[in-house]
């Protein structure tokens, strides 16, 4: 299993890097897709099938398709490489090192991370969907309701906003 872990995490990190290295926005988006797929595969190696499938379904299948759609419709062209801006470069390096240092200090203090992971039971009969469902609908029921209301408000808000813009557009015409 550790071999699979290295393959998929390498895939994920490599293509994650490609997202910011690529100049073509379409290539960046597709690299992010592959990175997500690697993440989903990592979830599978942890026996978390539901989360893995949802990762693909929501992020790869829906969010990134919309991204791709927007890139294509707006016809965003390849970005030309600019001259090096020393100030921006220095700032970027400082932020990077600060972030890595903080990550090291936090992870270094996390003692449970040093223990070896308990191996998972081999049989696939445990029902992670049921477990997640029971947990959400009993212990976190209130939070779920609040989230639902939040999403509803956001949906209605988007509809109202797009309606208003449509009206203005028709008046202009």
């Amino acid at each position: 299993m550790s071999l699979l872990f290295y393959i998929f995490s390498g895939l994920m990190l490599g293509f994650g890097l490609m997202v910011i290295v690529c100049r073509n926005p379409l290539s960046s988006a597709l690299c992010l897709v592959i990175s997500f797929l690697g993440l989903a595969a990592l979830f599978v190696t942890l026996n978390a099938y539901f989360i893995s499938v949802i990762q693909i379904l929501v992020y790869t299948g829906a969010v990134m398709v919309l991204f791709l759609f927007i890139i294509m419709l707006l016809d965003i062209r390849e970005e030309k490489s600019k001259d090096w801006n020393l100030l921006a470069l220095g700032g970027g390096v400082i932020v990077l090192f600060g972030f890595v240092a903080q990550l090291i200090s936090v992870l270094g203090g996390f003692d449970e991370g040093k223990q070896k992971m308990v191996p998972f039971p081999e049989d696939l009969s445990h029902e992670d969907v049921k477990m997640i469902g029971v947990e959400i609908f009993t212990n976190y029921n209130f939070h779920l309701q609040v989230l639902g209301v939040l999403l509803l408000v956001a949906t209605i808000g988007v509809v109202v906003l797009s309606r208003q813009q449509g009206k203005e557009g028709s008046e202009n015409n």
Partner: protein, 387 residues
Amino acid sequence: MEAGNILTSIEVMPILISFIKIVVVIFAVILPMVAYSVWAERRVSAVIQERVGPNRVGIPFTKIGLFGLGQPIADGIKFLLKEDFTPGHVNKLYYWLAPALTMVPALLTCAVLPFGSELFGEKMVIADLNVGPLFVFAIASLSVYGIVLAGWASNSKYSFLGGVRSSSQMISYEISLGLSLVPVLLIFGELNLSEIVREQSKNGWLLLPFWGEGAIWNGGVDRFFLLFPAFIAFIVFTTSIFAETNRLPFDLPECETELVAGYHTEYSSMKFALFFLGEYAAMIIGSGLIVTLFLGGWSLPFGLDAYLMSVSGDPQQIPWWLGLIHIGTFLAKVIAFILFFIWVRWTLPRFRYDQLMKLGWIIFFELALVNIFITAGILILTRDPAP
């Protein structure tokens, strides 16, 4: 040392069995079915339009015709031998990648479809996941990339319009596809496709609960009332599968009269064939999914499963001949559904694009949403609350 550890820690047998199942299912079942559904499409369309269709190609160098059954082989050789032309104005990498990206997801989804009960004690499904339908949706949602990339990389207006149409169509219908399935999952209370089929084998099919323990005279009153939402779910799901596979009456992405050939205008030879075969593979998997969820998968009708099991004696072990019958039943149902797909294609005219979007967003989306509440209400009224 390390390599030896890895080899001994992995059991070889389950991997070998999975490998055999994958090879047999893909190369001996799905791909020939794809080839012959193309042939069936041409023959059935000919019958519908009172033509003859391809009836000549039989065994090479003989006069034996066999109703043209050799046609797919001739087609395949033709696709391979034609010039593989890459236009100069395309983005090479994505142009080459796109056909593979449409074919692969279509074949991947068959991993969770149970195509039989058991054969020699081995479950006839490649991966017996507990998230079967979700897995199918997740992988199917990836097939949009191939079409979008083909449209974009071809760098031509027809292809681009086809790609944009196709992606918006697939995104829209994915919603009603997912929502229409929720009532089915509510009824079964199960996300494992093998278990869903086993349940139907015991209690009667979802759309025909007229035998077994689910029949109304055997106390399955809830199943009788649930027929109504199940039927709505079936209609919405089937229609959405048509839209997802870009088949007529929803084949606007490749609508010839407006877009030449849509997203595969610039493709030739085997790359075009991959798009073509990907569509058929998606159709076969879609039919398999509909059959699994609504029409009992591999189970025989009229309670024959239980009867044959009682004949065989041992109630736990499914005998090998019954396993083979189950596989045959599943294939027969899928073939019947493919013929239905073909029949619809050559009968109905194409929708207009705004009609298609309206149908997806205004009718099916709401219908599927309301259907969830109807199902939940019936379930509350007719079934005891879960312990």
